[in-house]
Symmetry: C2
Subunit: 176 residues, 2 copies
DNA sequence: GTGGTTGACTTGCCGTGTCAACTGTCTAGC
DNA sequence: GCTAGACAGTTGACACGGCAAGTCAACCAC
């Protein structure tokens, strides 16, 4: 008796789309990493972590929130914060409201680093993503990303961009 | 005097697009890796390498070609082939036509592994990428990926999907 | 043909990420 | 209260990828 249905193979057309898309998906992070490493000596993930903190109230976040915002595991964040802490850009503090949490806080030096790093990074993002696309394509990309993101993310809880801290609009668009 | 122009910051709209897109770009590879690791005990990159070989004439490719097709560095491929070789799925052979090249060849066991692994993987790709998008969105995604891919890839030489080996149409749509 | 150069890998070392096990903190149930 | 569990985070052991240096074949130039 039949146990499995015939797999729904990809056709030639679909294979091409998938190949092109897959190539882009793997190359883009490499390009962003390369730019940041070259110009600022930090990785994309490290930049994301500091950038997210720079947009957060008091430049502070709980570790677990921060991990979700930066799309990384808690372990990865813990190690990354170790490194950034050694470089003087982030400090840890226990959360006074609940001792189980740890707060990551961006130092002044960390803030300065983000401010110094952001322009070239944003420029690279524009060059790679925004400039080559039309306005219509950007809208399409948003919709497509939302749909794919939903299927990939468990229990429908996509991370959401934090509301910018009104006190710090200067770099509210730093995110990446 | 002015040394630098004011950076072209991202606006609120753009920041949102970039955040959504970035989240998708980082989560999707994780999801594919997770499925392959769980169901077949191999990484996405390892699968890509074997899949590309399975689509190549004689199930054979030069290392450098294979690295480009699978979007990885030569170092990464060399180490990956080491692992797959230890598992009995790939062997190395010097290229008789030019001793500088090394050929990677998929073994029969490697072929069987790809054939056994492909259906569940393709299903996951469909679930994550194809099913949630309309036909129009797929076309849009192809165009968008092509444009972004061009800006990100040096000297305009994007890797191209190999023509399938007519003798092996069975899994010609295995890619990803 | 032989000395130098280039091209195609391979490898030693190191940084980074993951999994699993562990520590410390809070919360429930009794 | 006090013990059991659930959370939040850290850490040790290991896997993996990158860089730079090393190997080995091929292609000159003379």
């Amino acid at each position: 008796m039949e146990e499995k249905a015939e797999p729904r193979w990809l056709g030639r057309e679909e294979t091409e789309i998938w190949f092109t898309f897959g190539t882009m998906v793997t190359s883009l992070p490499d390009a962003l990493d390369a730019q940041l490493q070259r110009d600022a000596g930090i990785s994309f993930f490290e930049y994301q972590v500091m950038s997210m903190l720079s947009m957060s109230p008091q430049h502070t976040r709980r570790m677990s929130e921060l991990a979700a915002l930066a799309n990384g595991s808690l372990t990865r964040l813990s190690r990354t914060v170790d490194r950034l802490n050694k470089r003087g850009w982030i400090i840890r503090r226990p959360d006074p409201e609940n001792g189980r949490y740890t707060l990551a806080v961006l130092t002044d030096a960390g803030w300065d680093k983000v401010v110094a790093t952001a322009p070239a990074h944003v420029e690279e993002v524009r060059r790679a993503v925004f400039d080559p696309l039309t306005k219509a394509q950007l809208r399409q990309l948003r919709d497509i990303s939302t749909r794919i993101g939903r299927t990939v993310h468990p229990d429908g809880c996509l991370p959401t961009l934090p509301e910018p801290d009104p006190a710090e609009v200067a770099v509210r668009d730093t995110r990446p």
